[in-house]
Symmetry: C2
Subunit: 149 residues, 2 copies
């Protein structure tokens, strides 16, 4: 999670919402991709940290299947990202802060553990949740103070 | 939908699952992006037709918001794609065949009309459904006949 938080800080410094993700290969614990949110920077609604990390990891291993890998992300994934984690057949998702407005792993939907879909993941929630959540709180407070929305 | 079916045929001819999508600007009916499934071709689990069409449309207009636009796709979107349609604030989703295994607009989940999320879309289902579905049936039959899985 420390590496995902580093990515979140990089997003903040680049002017985007501070959310970071890394993908770990379970067999040797190596981080095979790392990314941060780039939605604003790239004007791309799909450029969430998890999506960019999945695309980079798949490109790195040359396969759309990421079995044997864990997604580590600072905020609970949304529907798009939770769906992508299932599509990539990832073994596990580890997240920091829960997302009461859009969380799709535990909070609003349970897409990574839905028995009707063709794959399910182990879920570990709340890792360094306070630190991950504080990054977002501070970012949006600073934006409001600066008159942005 | 004819333009989306054309994209699906292009996917099939390229060796990928025949699903196609176009994004229409509602104000003048112009198609601002068109894409087909490239998951196998690109070894990218996120390379569904809808995702590629959304990324191309956002790049074209220079904004992550695609309000005033309609997604037209041959197969009911999955969780990832339905989530992306909501994130992009699209006005409407029009699809062909329903997807009993992964459909996330109507069949298994109702992500584009969930009142808990911060955006909802109009939904038009079943447009040229038989033709859209037959493309998939024929593709998977041919794959089985060729001994692929």
């Amino acid at each position: 999670m420390d590496a995902a938080i580093e990515q979140a800080l990089a997003a903040r410094d680049a002017g985007d919402v501070p959310i970071g993700a890394v993908i770990v290969r379970d067999s040797d614990g190596e981080i095979i991709s790392a990314a941060h949110n780039r939605r604003i920077i790239d004007a791309d609604p799909t450029a969430h940290a998890e999506m960019l990390a999945i695309r980079a990891a798949a490109a790195s291993v040359g396969d759309w299947r990421l079995g044997g890998c864990t997604m580590v992300v600072t905020l609970e994934p949304c529907c798009m990202c939770a769906g992508a984690i299932v599509l990539a057949r990832m073994d596990r998702v580890v997240y920091g802060a829960a997302d009461p407005k859009a969380g799709a792993v535990t909070t609003l939907h349970q897409l990574c553990s839905d028995p009707r879909l063709n794959h399910r993941c182990d879920i570990v929630a709340g890792v360094q949740a306070a630190k991950c959540g504080q990054l977002l709180t501070d970012f949006f407070q600073a934006q409001r103070a600066a008159g942005k929305k």
